[in-house]
């Protein structure tokens, strides 16, 4: 039993290490993506700065708070969407490289495979977001004096659980449709951006989209982290949010693994695991 566990841990590390090697080789792409991330976040910050000149500067309007609200949304969305897309592209990536059959033939549980990709994505996303955060703090002189970082980190950690479940669910798409699955992953990501309150409260959305937002774990992750960063909510205040996120994860992870297993068996039945499908 211990031997099997060590083997699975070794394989998990192997998947994360492989991703690191791949990113090292594609480092120019990563520099480009980092530049894009910084530019995107700065654009949102300057948009907030410009709100005053667009007539939003009434007596009750707190421009600094609005700027922080939007920047927190941009930064967290940048991080969470990176983790999501990395995991969601676990299968698509193997198809591009032509290694999908080799990986699926390896004596490793699928959970280990997918978690290895997620472990790398979580670490890499943190490193990239930290660099973007430094750029944003330097340019906009952000005030985090009211922030409670312990509360933020607890919500961030809890939010990764349902996010990984959602990402595994999305990674099934290229297994179902080798030709169109990748593009469908982008559609899922775009929809989450729309309904999860990244740049605005859910109340501005039409009712059907609000309903979708209520079942999106990112909604709770973003609102929880904003409460800690803007209003200083501590770990104790965040326990209900953490419970919701972990509850969603407790449903989403087993569900996503079961769906993935079904999709893998279907792909094996229909012969969809070949490189081009």
């Amino acid at each position: 039993m211990i031997g099997v566990r060590n083997h699975e841990l070794g394989a998990l590390f192997g998947f994360a290490e492989r991703q690191l090697y791949v990113y090292k080789r594609y480092w120019v792409w990563e520099v480009v993506w980092l530049f894009y991330s910084i530019v995107s976040v700065l654009s949102i910050g300057f948009l907030a700065s410009g709100l005053g000149t667009l007539g939003a500067g009434s007596a009750t309007f707190d421009l600094r708070r609005a700027q922080l609200y939007l920047l927190i949304g941009a930064l967290l969305w940048g991080y969470l969407s990176l983790v999501f897309m990395e995991a969601a592209y676990a299968i698509a990536w193997e198809r591009w490289e032509g290694t999908i059959e080799y990986t699926f033939m390896a004596p490793v549980r699928r959970m280990t495979h997918l978690m290895g990709i997620c472990v790398f994505a979580i670490g890499y996303g943190l490193a990239r977001t930290f660099i973007v955060l430094i750029a944003a703090v330097a340019i906009f002189n952000l005030d985090f004096s009211h922030a409670n970082f312990a509360g933020t980190l607890v919500v961030l950690a809890a939010s990764l659980v349902p996010l990984i479940g959602l990402a595994i669910l999305t990674s099934v798409l290229p297994l179902l449709s080798p030709q169109k699955g990748e593009q469908m992953s982008f559609a899922v990501q775009g929809f989450m951006l729309l309904v999860s309150g990244v740049y605005y409260p859910l109340t501005v959305l039409p009712v059907p989209l609000q309903a979708a937002g209520i079942i999106s774990p990112l909604t709770y992750a973003l609102s929880g982290m904003r409460r800690s960063l803007l209003d200083g909510a501590g770990v104790g205040d965040q326990l209900p949010t953490v419970a919701i996120l972990l509850g969603m994860g407790a449903v989403l992870i087993p569900l996503s693994v079961a769906v993935f297993s079904w999709a893998e068996n279907r792909a094996k039945r229909l012969g969809l695991l070949k490189r081009s499908g």
Binding site: N6, H7, G10, A11, F13, G14, E17, R18, Y21, V22, R25, Y26, E97, G98, T99, E101, Y102, T103, F104, M105, A106, P107, V108, R109, N265, K268, R269, L270, G271, L273, R275
Partner: protein, 273 residues
């Protein structure tokens, strides 16, 4: 009596293919069924090289994929060292490795990085760098290729790395799916030399899919000829030539199917390769 390396009973595989008939509107497609493998019975004892000969569409790669747990049969059972390929897939994978016609590597990564990845997946990472260098050198690959991106290596060198990678994981059953197809004559000879060494030195059962009759005659202890998802003949190369009074395996295939293997390759296209 020892458990055979491969034991297949009544395995059948059919693929559904959607086709649009010429002149039909773009949304109107018909689903056709193509039988890749008819009911197949096969036992392969441990050790030696068993060749599967046949053109594209004969079902040989389908058979390899079923044994590699990449396809599930529609009917019948396939066992590898007694483990069922569907029910005990993880156990089967511990004993099997595959070298395919397209070397399945991360092309931007080096042989070393690809092999470390393989070693971690198969749980054999202890002392890996030394072993990788030893294995690659034993296959005639220059030492400086170990850290170059795979995409900079020739196809022959890539195939050698694929074989080296399979050695690293010490499989009991090695599935070789046209490992020399598309290689230049020199690379082909080098890879065949590796296979001959493997046949002579290693305690491993090899299933070699090929449509190169000379390769099969030179390397295989036993040959199965397949066409249209059926096994047409089974025996050693010498037995087959004797049985059909033929001077070559190509002539045996001609006798059994009425067609040349190379002609058929040009005509055949389908999902069951």
């Amino acid at each position: 009596m020892s458990i055979p390396a491969i034991d297949i009973e009544g395995v059948r595989k059919t693929f559904r293919v959607r086709e649009r008939q010429s002149g039909a509107p773009w949304w109107k497609t018909a689903t056709k069924e193509k039988v890749a493998l008819h009911e197949l019975d096969l036992t392969v004892e441990r050790g030696g090289v068993t060749g599967i000969l046949g053109p594209n569409g004969s079902g040989k790669s389908t058979l390899i994929r079923i044994l590699g747990t990449l396809l599930t049969p529609d009917a019948g059972t396939a066992r590898v060292f007694g483990w069922d390929v569907v029910a005990d897939a993880l156990q089967v994978r511990r004993h099997v490795n595959r070298v395919s016609v397209e070397a399945a590597f991360f092309k931007e990564l080096s042989p070393w990085e690809n092999m470390v990845y393989a070693a971690r997946l198969y749980g054999s990472s202890r002392g890996t760098r030394k072993r990788v260098v030893e294995i690659l050198e034993s296959l005639g690959l220059p030492r400086d290729t170990i850290d170059q991106p795979m995409k900079q290596l020739s196809r022959g060198q890539q195939q050698k790395v694929a074989i080296a990678r399979s050695f690293l994981t010490a499989p009991s059953l090695l599935l070789m799916d046209e490992p020399t197809t598309g290689l230049d004559p020199r690379s082909k000879k080098e890879v065949q030399a590796v296979l001959e060494t493997l046949r002579g030195e290693r305690e491993v059962t090899v299933l070699l899919c090929t449509h190169d009759m000379d390769e099969a005659a030179a390397l295989c202890d036993r040959v199965l000829m397949m066409d249209g998802g059926r096994v047409l003949a089974d025996g050693s190369p010498a037995e087959l030539r004797r049985r059909y009074d033929a001077t070559s395996l190509e002539a045996v295939f001609m006798h059994l199917t009425g067609k040349m293997l190379e002609e058929d390759e040009e005509e055949t296209a389908g999902v069951a390769t």
